[in-house]
């Protein structure tokens, strides 16, 4: 048990903050992109056009059976190759996370859409509304309202998962802290700090979601 010097944290706050910004950026983009793509996948999966449904289901099952680290490696390797030129790690990672999360969001959204009583769609169609109209104005609004807590919870999971960019050295919050830890030989202080920050953010966020859930039940 050596001496602890927590001042190392305060001395490096700007650098750490920049890392956190990267983390938050990754989370936001992947969440937004993931939900948009996930909705399309969910609709495709539930569609009666076999080709669409098969393609969507394969995509979802494929990404859900792979470790995220492997997907990160894939795109880190593949994106520059496909574009024919070197690309910053950030872009590869953004693509990787968005495509990966979309598979998880798709399942959440599909469950949400299924949970809207089939009578609602029937009532909308009976009034003469088209498939698109009934989806857009009747089914999806209800589905999303019900799904908001789960979507947010998945967002918290995503926030934690972004730490995996460690494997390609992208400077997110964890990697920034680790760099300082190694440079100053202050592993305990830095890693405890990281753990506490994540704990604080994720715990408050999940409490927030619970509060939201209670309020939504009116």
């Amino acid at each position: 048990m050596g001496d602890f010097d927590f001042s190392v944290i305060f001395d490096n706050l700007p650098f750490l903050f920049k890392g956190m910004q990267t983390t938050l950026l990754l989370t936001a983009v992947a969440m937004f992109g993931g939900i948009v793509l996930g909705t399309l996948l969910a609709l495709a999966r539930m569609s009666s056009i076999t080709v669409l449904s098969v393609v969507a289901t394969s995509y979802i099952n494929f990404f859900r059976s792979l470790p995220l680290i492997l997907v990160i490696f894939w795109f880190y390797f593949l994106v520059p190759l496909a574009l024919g030129r070197p690309v910053g790690g950030l872009y590869s990672v953004l693509v990787a996370f968005t495509l990966f999360e979309a598979a998880y969001y798709a399942e959440i959204i599909r469950a949400g859409i299924s949970s809207v009583r089939s009578g609602q769609a029937a009532a909308a169609r009976a009034l003469g509304m088209s498939y698109t109209q009934s989806m857009r104005f009747i089914v999806l609004p209800q589905a999303f309202r019900a799904m908001i807590p789960i979507l947010l919870t998945q967002g918290i999971v995503l926030f934690q998962d972004t730490s995996l960019v460690y494997v390609v050295g992208l400077k997110d919050f964890l990697v920034s802290a680790e760099l300082i830890a190694n440079r100053e030989q202050r592993l305990i202080e830095m890693f405890s700090f990281v753990a506490l920050v994540y704990l604080a953010i994720c715990f408050s966020a999940s409490q927030g979601v619970k509060f939201l859930e209670r309020r939504m039940k009116r």
Partner: protein, 242 residues
């Protein structure tokens, strides 16, 4: 107005409708009754294309429902449907529920659809509930809103799928009263129901179904006094002894 010709429907291997043929004339009120699983709900759901059928034809207002070239959405806007579970859109207010299809499908202006909505709410006795949400209304009130929603499209025929089955007993009458008024005003109606009192009051004909087949199809008074089949006699004796 509606005619069914040799309609057959299967769910996989199970035959739900067997060779069903009947018709509903303009301004006629036809009640469809029968035990659970007899196919009565399925029959009217086929009439507006909500359920597909494998053989036979169904024509509504001279439009063939099963024809591939038929624009089902347009057809459905001319057929009103009231569901057992009301199926009001919970995230929309009463007023919005009645207006949404008018604006989206019939392309009416906001002003026109709102005016019509209020007129209909008046007709079903719910003028001051326009801004409420479905969850704030009783079952009977919700079903009356559902009827108004269907009427807002100016349909040529109204289909009712067990409209009072999900209601508490004390609310059944407020809905039936609306339906009786509709019938007296000359709406063509096809109603799946167990409410035999309603049938006696306004139905022109009664259809009795059992196991996917139309077993009885005759004028109301004949049905109640002298049904031809044993199954119908049996059903009537059970249901009228309540």
């Amino acid at each position: 107005m509606i005619s069914f010709d040799n309609v057959n429907k299967f769910y996989g291997d199970f035959q739900v409708l067997r060779d069903c043929s009947t018709h509903v004339k303009a301004k006629e009120v036809v009640v469809v009754c029968g035990p659970s699983g007899s196919g009565k709900s399925t029959l009217i759901k086929c009439a507006n294309g909500l359920e597909p059928f494998q053989s036979g034809t169904i024509t509504v207002n001279d439009v063939s429902v099963g024809d591939k070239n038929t624009n089902l959405n347009q057809l459905r806007s001319r057929i009103g449907m009231v569901f057992q579970n009301f199926e009001l859109f919970p995230h929309l207010s009463v007023l919005q529920n009645i207006c949404i299809a008018q604006e989206m499908v019939l392309k009416r202006s906001k002003q026109e659809s709102t005016e019509r909505a209020f007129a209909l709410l008046e007709r079903v006795g719910l003028s001051n509930q326009a801004e409420k949400f479905p969850a704030q209304l009783s079952g009977g009130q919700q079903q009356r809103v559902a009827i108004a929603r269907g009427l807002a499209m100016d349909p040529v025929v109204m289909l009712f799928d067990e409209p009072t089955s999900a209601l508490d007993p004390e609310m059944i009458n407020e809905v039936l009263d609306v339906m009786v008024k509709l019938a007296q005003e000359g709406m063509t109606m096809m109603v799946v129901t167990h409410e035999m009192g309603f049938a006696k009051r306004v139905a022109d004909r009664v259809i009795f179904m059992d196991q996917g087949q139309i077993v009885e199809d005759e004028k109301t008074d004949v049905f109640f006094s002298n049904p031809k089949s044993d199954r119908a006699k049996d059903f009537l004796s059970k249901i009228l002894n309540h």
